[in-house]
Subunit: 193 residues, 4 copies
């Protein structure tokens, strides 16, 4: 069972998610600067979510590159990840429209948390299918970033009700941590070839 | 005539359907929990439809994997299936927004029924093209799940006017029945290789 | 210069057009049958446009199958075709929402006309690039259907102001004429192999 | 690390951007000619943006054709370009709905400017990765059009507040300049083969 169609479908879904998020930034009625200012928080949350979907696409790309075959369990673990990512346009729009109010910021963090757990589950499913000696298992190693991220998201959710600024700092911080491309897989792949 | 472009087009349509359904979950105006509660049924119907589109993508993937070539009849039988699936965002949104009222629940069942018949027709068209001794024909076998599903959807439609809860139990039940990946094709393919 | 990316991009655009048309069928507020009846013309125009986009995808698929290489002129002739097809969601929605009023029906015909001319132009561009002895040139032959369709659309536009019913009969008739898959190319390809 | 998935993802995003822009052209309520006239500027800005996205797709296609491998830096430079292009539906809709008022025209120019700088950055990143003697580096040459375009966009932004007509002349002019396909790369590629 080839992985090409899984990649193509995931690429399609991620490309649509990243693009329809911009539809939540409604074209305002009015032509002066004052009509644009309420859109600034919507724009900022769009930027953050664009970067997050980019990170997921990037890491997904690397992970499947190190995957040989696709089982039924992997297909469903992948759809499960896409499900949580598909909620990004909703939570991004809600957080932006309410100018980073506590509950929307917390819900955004909850979707980040569930997506990161779904990513971890997909990774586990692939490794379980391919064995601990597989390229992917060696490439992941101890997976410090993958374990730290859900903890930081989980901390940000209650924190949002104390200080939305601190919660956002955590969201931006985790994104920056991941922006560094996953050199582990690149390195092991380079060695394997 | 290769099947790659048929797969690519179907993947594109399914990826878009599964993603634009989330646009029916309109971002609410307001930042407290009370603004989210009316969205709970919309979210639940989104989850159900996401799972159904995932099942169709999964089974479509397996079916085409066991298909050698694509005729004009197969192209149109495939478009016919995509047509009914393209109505999912509409019926999902209508059912969710009306909190599972009888008529929307029945219409949802009608689209499920027509999609399942379209899937069956596509399967028949491929088998007719490739012969009863083909990989796909052997993989399908007696096709118990494929015959049972339309019957259950057809029962759910009138049932929706008696008890919407029972109709929904049927929709969820059929989805669970299909969530088990189609091991028949995997098994026969494994044997054939 | 390969044709794969041209096919992939065209498939993507056609898949999105065919799917977002359904968004023009707005989910109604209300749960009884009376809220659905105004949607019947919207649904019917959706069906017609779905079939038309399906026909274009099908014929495009066949035409590119018989194409060897892609030049800059072919790229732009293809984008020109996609431009007119991208207006389908708009004219379909306008025609459906106004219950097949004369002007929307005429505008729908105008977009059909311009798309068919763009298709003809793309076909000419490919043949000009590949020579009159090419597979595609022989497959097209005298292209009776390709020449008749624009004439019928052009007749339907003024006719819409006399009788919208007759104009719609023409639109449906041309679609039926094309639903028969283009056996000419299949035949010539079969012979060529 | 192959470039196929990068192309597929970029194609997906560009196909969606080019198609959802048409959703900003809202179906009007009313069936006479008077309801269409306010849409004329929306249509014209849609045409301009369609041509621009087509140009980007075309040049992106050529550039990646001359690219051998994809690094993490190239992935992110590509996502950065897609980000600015993803704002096209918003600025196109705003400019069209306000009938080419000064501020929307200037903002449209700003997004054109940022997209052109992102394209230049992506090109630099690829050349830096592949070396000055690479096919792409030779194909680009002195890159006169690539250097002139941002200057013209940057001039158009302040000009929009003096004369929106002149700014639009610049936008159309740069598009026409690029409509000529990038024969440099075609030529060098032809020589290289």
């Amino acid at each position: 069972m080839g992985k090409n169609r899984l990649e193509a479908f995931s690429d399609g879904v991620l490309a649509i998610i990243i693009t329809i998020m911009v539809l939540e930034m409604k074209v305002p009625h009015g032509e002066d600067l004052a009509t644009l200012t309420p859109l600034v928080p919507v724009f900022l949350s769009y930027v953050l979510s664009f970067v997050y979907i980019g990170i997921y696409w990037n890491n997904h790309h690397h992970m499947l590159h190190a995957t040989d075959r696709v089982s039924g369990a992997i297909l469903w673990a992948n759809l499960h990840l896409l499900f949580w990512l598909s909620l990004f346009p909703f939570v991004t729009g809600w957080m932006g429209e309410n100018h980073f109010a506590p509950l929307p910021v917390a819900l955004y963090g909850a979707v980040l948390l569930l997506a990161s757990l779904a990513y971890w589950l997909l990774q586990r499913t692939i490794v379980a299918d391919q064995g601990d000696g597989s390229l992917l298992a060696r490439a992941i190693g101890n997976d410090a970033k993958g374990k730290l991220s859900p903890l930081l998201y989980a901390s940000a959710i209650p924190l949002a009700f104390v200080s939305t600024g601190l919660a956002q700092v955590l969201y931006v911080g985790v994104a920056l941590m991941w922006l560094v491309p996953d050199r582990r897989i690149e390195r092991v792949l380079g060695r394997g070839e």
